[in-house]
C-alpha cells in the first residue's frame, strides 16, 4: 500500500491557517490581538511538543525538556542583553548549546541503558538543575522574577528578532516555525532511523544484534529533539518579551510538554499540535468562563484559577488509562477501523 506523498487536505489546511489572521481581523476587528495571541501560543507550543514527541514516541520519555526550552530562551536573551549579540546568532548558539547538553546527558544514559522510570527521573533532575541554576545566577537572570530582552527601537526588528507589537507578523513567524517542526517530524517519520529507533524501543538487544547502533540512533534523536525545544523556547521568549524560570524552564514546563503531547497523541504528526490546541483552549475557556461567572467566582474566590489544573489533571489520568494513543491517534484508529470494517 503506497500512501500519497502529499495529501490535498494538508494544502487546504495550510491555506486556511495562512488566511486565519485576515479572517480574524475581519470578524473581530476590536479583539483580533487576543485571538491571534492564542493562535501564536498554540503554534509555538505545538512546535515544542512536536520536538518532544520525536523522542517520546520511541519510548524515550524525557521529563526534562523544560531544561532545553530554558536554555534556549535564557542563552538567547542573556547574550542579547549583556553581550549585545543579535539573536540571529544567539538563537543558533543557544540551540547548539541545548543539543550539546542533550548529548552530554544522553550519552552516559544510553550507554548505561538507563530507560523507563530511571530515564524519566534522571531527566526530571536535569530540568530542575537547569531551573535552579537560572535562579541561582540571579545577578544575570533576574532570579525567580525572570527577565526581559531589551527592547530594540519600536520593538519590531529583524536584527533583534523582536516582533511582539505586530501580531500578524508574529503569527506568521509562529506558523513558519510550526510548519518547519512538522516537516522535521515528517522527515524523521520517513527515515530509516525511525525503524531503527522503533526496534530499539521494543528490544534493545535484538536491535543491536541486527546491526543497529542503538546509542548512536538515540543520541541523534535526542540532539534533534533538544535543539527543537531550545529553538521553540527561544522564539517563545522573543515573542513574550519576558522569560521566567517557571514559565519557560523547570519541572512544570516539562510536565506540561509531556502531558499535552500525550493527550494529543505522540505517534501521529498532528497529535502534539492538537495537544497544544486542546490544552490551551481548555485553560483559556475555563479562565474566561470563570472570569465571566459571578457564581463561580463567589464560590471559589481567587482559587478558581486552580479549577483548570484540576480538570486538566483528571483528564490526563483519563487519557493515559483509556486513550494512550491520544486524541488524534485514537480518532485515526477509529477512522481506519470504519474504513476496513464491513
Amino acid at each position: 500500500m503506497t500512501k500519497p506523498r502529499f495529501h490535498p487536505g494538508y494544502a487546504i489546511g495550510l491555506a486556511g491557517l495562512i488566511a486565519l489572521p485576515f479572517v480574524v481581523t475581519a470578524l473581530f476587528p476590536s479583539s483580533e490581538k487576543y485571538y491571534l495571541h492564542l493562535a501564536i501560543q498554540v503554534l509555538l507550543w505545538a512546535f515544542i511538543y512536536t520536538g518532544w514527541s520525536l523522542m517520546g514516541r520511541f519510548g524515550l520519555t524525557s521529563l526534562g525538556h523544560g531544561a532545553f526550552t530554558g536554555v534556549g530562551a535564557y542563552v538567547t536573551v542573556l547574550l542579547w542583553n549583556y553581550a549585545g549579540l543579535t539573536p540571529l546568532i544567539g538563537i543558533p548558539l543557544a540551540v547548539l548549546l541545548a543539543a550539546a547538553l542533550g548529548l552530554i546527558v544522553g550519552y552516559p544514559c544510553f550507554r548505561q541503558r538507563i530507560t523507563g522510570h530511571y530515564f524519566a527521573l534522571l531527566t526530571l533532575a536535569l530540568a530542575e538543575f537547569v531551573r535552579l541554576c537560572i535562579i541561582g545566577l540571579r545577578d544575570l537572570t533576574g532570579g525567580s522574577l525572570g527577565t526581559q530582552p531589551q527592547r530594540y527601537g519600536n520593538g519590531i526588528s529583524l536584527y533583534a528578532v523582536q516582533f511582539e507589537p505586530d501580531r500578524t507578523l508574529a503569527y506568521f513567524i509562529a506558523l513558519a516555525t510550526w510548519v518547519i517542526g512538522l516537516y522535521i517530524w515528517h522527515r524523521v517519520d520517513r527515515s530509516m532511523d525511525r525503524y531503527a529507533l522503533e526496534a530499539a524501543s521494543q528490544d534493545e538487544d535484538a536491535a543491536s544484534s541486527v546491526g543497529i547502533d542503538v546509542t548512536r540512533e538515540k543520541l541523534k534523536i535526542t540532539a534533534l529533539s533538544s535543539a527543537m525545544c531550545a529553538f521553540g523556547g527561544a522564539m517563545f521568549g522573543q515573542y513574550q518579551m519576558y522569560i521566567g524560570p517557571d514559565t519557560i524552564a523547570g519541572l512544570g514546563v516539562s510536565l506540561n510538554i509531556v502531558f499535552a503531547a500525550i493527550a494529543g497523541g505522540v505517534y501521529v504528526m498532528l497529535g502534539p499540535t492538537f495537544g497544544a490546541f486542546f490544552t490551551q483552549m481548555l485553560a483559556e475557556t475555563l479562565r474566561v468562563s470563570i472570569q465571566g461567572s459571578e457564581a463561580l467566582k463567589s464560590w471559589l474566590g481567587s482559587s478558581a484559577l486552580a479549577l483548570d489544573s484540576a480538570i486538566y489533571g483528571a483528564l490526563l489520568v483519563f487519557f493515559i488509562i483509556y486513550m494512550p494513543k491520544g486524541i488524534v491517534g485514537t480518532f485515526l484508529e477509529w477512522v481506519e477501523k470504519r474504513k476496513s470494517g464491513p
Binding site: 548505561q112 541503558r113 527521573l121 526530571l124
Partner: protein
C-alpha cells in the same frame, strides 16, 4: 559566602543529619511501593501534602486534639493510597511502565489544584512550637529532633514488620519476583492493595512529622518530591539501608551547600550529584551489577 570550618558549619552538618531522618522516612513509603508494585508514584509528595492539610483541618478547624488529628490524617492518606491504586494504577498495570509514572503525574496536578481550591494558596501552619535546645552556641529545634527520632523508630518498625510478619514476608517475596509468587498461591492483587495502604500510611506518618516543621501550601510537594525520588533511586530499590545512606548524603549537600552558598545551589549540587551517580552506578549506590 564563607565556608570556614566553624561552629556554623558544624551546625549545618548536624541540621543535615536531622533533615536526613525526615527524608529517609519520606523515601521509605515510596521505596516500598516502587519495590513491590514497580510503580513510581510521582504524586507521592502530594499525598504527604494531603495528609498535612488533613491534620491542619482536623486540628485547627474541627478542633480535635493533635494526636487524634494526626491519626485521622494517617488513615486518610492510607485510604488515598488504596484509592490511587484501585482507580488509577490498576487499569495501567499491564501497560508500559512509563504510563504508570505519567498517570500519577496527572494525579499530581489534580491534587495540587484541589488543595488550592479547598485551602487557597496561603501558607498554613498548625502553630505548634516546641522551642529549641541550645548546645555550644548551636540551636536545634525540638521539632526537628523529635522528627528525627520518630523517623528512626518508624523505619525500624517497618523493618520489623517486613521481616517478622507473614504479610511482610509475602510483600518481600512479591517484590523479589512478581510473576512467580501468584503461582505459589499469593494473591498479588491483595498484596498490592496492602502495600498501597502501607505506602500511603507512611506518607501520612511523614505528614505528621512535616506539619511540626513546615508551613503547608499547595506546592509544597514540588519542594521535596524530587529529592525523595532521588533518594529512592540512589539507595537502590527496596534497599532500606541504602535509602538511609542516600538520604544522609543528599541532606548534607543541601544543608552545607545552602549554608555556604545559597539554598538553590545546595539543591542544584544535590541534583548534579544524583545525575552523575546515576551514570556511574545506575543501580544505586549499593546496587549489585546484575
Amino acid at each position: 559566602m564563607d565556608c570556614a570550618l566553624d561552629i556554623f558549619f558544624l551546625e549545618a552538618v548536624l541540621n543535615g543529619v536531622l533533615l536526613a531522618g525526615l527524608l529517609a522516612l519520606l523515601a521509605l513509603g515510596l521505596n516500598l511501593v516502587f519495590g513491590v508494585i514497580d510503580v513510581v508514584w510521582i504524586c507521592y509528595a502530594e499525598l504527604v501534602m494531603v495528609g498535612m492539610y488533613a491534620i491542619f483541618h482536623f486540628y485547627k478547624v474541627v478542633g480535635l486534639p493533635l494526636p487524634v488529628a494526626m491519626l485521622a490524617g494517617i488513615l486518610i492518606v492510607a485510604m488515598a493510597g488504596i484509592i490511587l491504586h484501585v482507580v488509577v494504577i490498576r487499569p495501567v498495570l499491564e501497560t508500559p511502565p512509563i504510563n504508570q509514572l505519567l498517570v500519577t503525574g496527572g494525579v499530581l496536578f489534580f491534587l495540587q489544584a484541589a488543595a488550592t481550591m479547598a485551602f487557597g494558596v496561603e501558607f498554613r501552619n498548625i502553630g505548634v512550637q516546641l522551642g529549641s535546645v541550645s548546645f555550644a552556641d548551636m540551636y536545634f529545634s525540638w521539632n526537628r529532633i523529635i522528627t528525627f527520632v520518630m523517623a528512626l523508630a518508624i523505619v525500624f518498625g517497618l523493618w520489623l514488620f517486613l521481616r517478622r510478619t507473614f504479610i511482610g514476608t509475602a510483600i518481600r517475596a512479591v517484590s523479589q519476583d512478581r510473576h512467580i509468587m501468584p503461582l505459589m498461591g499469593v494473591d498479588t492483587r491483595q498484596i498490592y492493595l496492602i502495600t498501597s495502604a502501607i505506602g500511603g500510611g507512611l506518607a501520612g506518618l511523614a505528614a505528621c512529622l512535616m506539619v511540626l516543621q513546615f508551613d503547608i501550601y499547595p506546592q509544597i510537594g514540588l519542594q521535596f518530591g524530587l529529592l525523595v525520588f532521588m533518594i529512592c533511586v540512589l539507595g537502590g530499590l527496596g534497599n532500606m539501608v541504602g535509602g538511609f545512606v542516600a538520604a544522609f548524603i543528599i541532606a548534607q549537600f543541601i544543608t552545607i551547600g545552602g549554608s555556604c552558598f545559597a539554598t538553590e545551589w545546595g539543591y542544584a549540587i544535590a541534583f548534579l550529584f544524583f545525575m552523575v551517580m546515576m551514570f556511574l552506578r545506575p543501580r544505586g549506590l549499593f546496587g549489585s551489577k546484575a
